[in-house]
Symmetry: C2
Subunit: 432 residues, 2 copies
Amino acid sequence: MPNSAQSSQPVSLMTDHYEFTMVSAALSDGTAERPCVFEVFARRLPTGRRYGVVAGIGRLAELLPGFRFSEADVEFLRSNGVVDEATARWLADYRFGGDIDCYNEGELFFPGSPILTVSGTFAECVLLETLILSVLNHDCAIAAGAARMVTAARGRPLIEMGSRRTHEDAAMASARAAYLAGFTTTSNLAAGRRYGIPTAGTSAHAFTLLHNDEQAAFASQVAKLGVDTTLLVDTYDITQGIRNAVAAAGTRLWAIRIDSGDLDVMAHHSRQLLDSLGATDTKIVVSGDLDEYAIAALAAAPVDIYGAGTAVVTGSGAPTANLVYKLVEVDGSPVVKRSENKATVGGRKTAVRRHKPTGTVVEEVVVSQGTPEPQPGDRPLQRALVRGGELVADLPGLDDSRELLRQGLIAIPWEGLKLSPGDPSVPVVMLS
Amino acid sequence: MPNSAQSSQPVSLMTDHYEFTMVSAALSDGTAERPCVFEVFARRLPTGRRYGVVAGIGRLAELLPGFRFSEADVEFLRSNGVVDEATARWLADYRFGGDIDCYNEGELFFPGSPILTVSGTFAECVLLETLILSVLNHDCAIAAGAARMVTAARGRPLIEMGSRRTHEDAAMASARAAYLAGFTTTSNLAAGRRYGIPTAGTSAHAFTLLHNDEQAAFASQVAKLGVDTTLLVDTYDITQGIRNAVAAAGTRLWAIRIDSGDLDVMAHHSRQLLDSLGATDTKIVVSGDLDEYAIAALAAAPVDIYGAGTAVVTGSGAPTANLVYKLVEVDGSPVVKRSENKATVGGRKTAVRRHKPTGTVVEEVVVSQGTPEPQPGDRPLQRALVRGGELVADLPGLDDSRELLRQGLIAIPWEGLKLSPGDPSVPVVMLS
C-alpha cells in the first residue's frame, strides 16, 4: 500500500456554509464590523440529567490558532460561489482579534449557564460558531456521561475502552473527556500520547483463539508481560479459565478480566474461586456494555476495576450536549430572538456560583449586562481564554480540571449525584 | 493568536493499547506469523432497526495507506513500555501486506453479514482492529439513521446540518454518510471540499438580530444573494416575517425557512400566506430537531425541503453500529469463542443475497469456508478492497454507493422500510 499523505482539512472549513453567506452580506451592508457578543449555553440538559460538565476548552485552545484561511481555502470558497471577491479578500486576512471568556474545564453547568462568551466584530465572531459548538457539544456530552459512571463506580478505577465505537478522531477526544471526568486510564494510545493520559490494555479473545489452547495463550502472555498483567478468562469457560490463569501466573497474578455473562454472578464466583486457589490479591476487571446503571448494580459485587466503552463514547444516551451559540448583544444592546417558543435573555452575562457556609452550592446567579451583588461564598465562574485574539497563558491542565470536577461534584446538593432522572441539581437565577 | 501547527496523530496510534501487547507476546512465542482471518460483522442491529447500511469503506481506503509507524511513533510506544525492543523494530517496518474484502458502501447488511474480511498474519491484521471498527461503527451508524430519514421524506430533499452537534472531524464523516444515504446537500464546507458533496446555507437568526430590524436583514441578504435565496422568517413573528420576506424579495423568492414552532401548523399557515401574497412558487424549508419520525409526521404538510441536524449526526438514537472485529480462522481452521453467551460461527464466510424473479430479496446466504450453491437471482456481496497490501483500483465513488443503497432499499421486502421497531427485514442463513 503506498503511504499516501492524508488530505486533512483546515478547521476553518469545518464551518457551516451559512456563516460565510452571512459574512458576505454583512460585509456588503456595513454591519460586519458591529461589536457583538455571542454566548454558548444549554437551554436544557439532556432529559433527566442533573448537571452538565464543561469539557473541550483545552482542545478549543489548541484549534483556534489554526482558524485561518490559506490561499487554497479561499479559492475553494470563491470558486464554489460560497463567497464573493470582497469576502474572499477579507478571509485571506482573517484572524480572530476579539476576546473569549469561558468556564474552566471540569466546571459543572446548568441550563442557562453562559459557559463561553465570544466578543468582537460580528464577522469575526460568527465564523467560529460551528467549530466551538462541535468541540464543546461533543466533549461536554462525553464528560457528563463519564462523570455519572465515575460516581456509580464509588472510587473503583475505570478504564475507558470505547475507541472502536466512535469516529477515530472523536475517540481521542472521548478518552480525554473521560479522563477529565475521573476515568483512570484509556485504551487509546493516540490520546495517551497527545494528552498524557495513562493507557492500559493486555489482550483480547483473539489472542487466546490464536493459540492452540488457553494454557498456551496465558503462558505466552505471562512470559512476555510477567504476572503483573490481566488475563482474559472468558474465551471458553470462566471456571477453567481462572484455573488456567492461576496455573500460568501463580497466585501473584495481578488481575483477571471477565467480558461476558452476568457480571455480578461471575464476579462473585470468580472471587471465590480465586481465593480458594490462593490468589486472594488478584483483582477482577469486568467489561462488556457497562454504563452507569450497570456499574451501580455491581456496587456490592467483588469487582475491582470497570472497563467501559460504548456508553462512554456515546455520552450514555446523550451523545450531544444541547449547547447553542447565540448572538446576545449588538453595539452594547441586548438582542433576543422572540419567535414562537424560544425565549432567551439577551445581553452579556456574568455568572457566580453561590454556596452555603458549609460549601454546598445554593444557586448559580447569572446577571445580564451587570455583575451579581457580591455575597460571601460566591465563586466567579468565568475566566479569560482569549484576549485581543491571543490565548492567555495560564490555562489549567487536564489534571486541574479533573480535580475541579471532583470538588464540584462534592459541592452540589446530594440530589445531583443520583443517577435517576431529575431536575438540574442547581437552579440558575437569571437577572436582567 | 499565533498560527501554531496542529499536532495531529497518526492513524496507527488510534489503536487500543492491547493490540500492541498482543503483538509483542505473539512475536515472542512464534504465533505472530500464523495466517489468520478476521471478520467485521454485527451480532445484532440497533434495537428495532430493520437494516444496516455499509458506509465508511471509502474513508478506510483513504486512511489505511497511512497506517505506518514513524520513528517518533515507535519511540513513544517503546519508551512508554507499550512494546519491547523486538516489537519496536517490527513496527518500524510494519506495512499491512494482506488482503481485505468488503461489502460495497451503500450495501445493506443484517446480523451476521460479513461486511469486511481481513486476512494476513495475526500480527499485521490485529493491529487494524480499532481503526477499522472506529470508521465503520461511526459511518454505518450515521448512514443507517440518515437512510430512514430519506425514506420518511418520500422524495423531498434533505439538508444535513448537524456539524455543530458532533465532534468536528466526525461532522465531516457524518456529512459524507448522510449524502451516501440520500441527503441532498450538507452545511459542512470541509465535507463539501473533501468529498465533493454539494453544500447549502444562507443565514441564521444572528443575521437578523444583527440588523436594526428584520426588513433591513432581509434587504441585505437579497441584495447580496439575489431572490434565489432562503429567508429565515421566525426570528420575531412568522406571519410578519413572511410578509417582510416577500416585500424584500418579491414573489419570486426561492424559499423561506422555519426553525421553530409546530412545523405542521406553521407549514400550512406559511403556504397559505405565501400563496395569498402571490409567492406561489416560494418553497418552504423546515428545520429544528427533525428525526425520521418528525419528518414522517410532516408528509401531508406543504413542506418542500427538510433540514436535519442532531438526529443525523447521532445516528438517530443509535450512535454506533454494534460492529465487532473477530478472529474467525487460524491456519485455515475455524476458531470460535465459546464463553457463556456469545456463540458465533467460525471460518471465513462468503455471502450472496438471494432474490425472487421480481427482484425482491428473499434472504442472505452466508457460508463458512465455502461458497453458496449458485441459484438464479444470487448477487455476490463481497469485493476485493486490498490485495497484498495494495488498494485495488476500481473503488466505487460516493454517487455509485448512493445509487446502490437506493436500489437496495427498493429490493428489500416492504416491511423493511417501516420506521417502527421490527425484526431485520432480510434473514441471514448461516451455513457451515
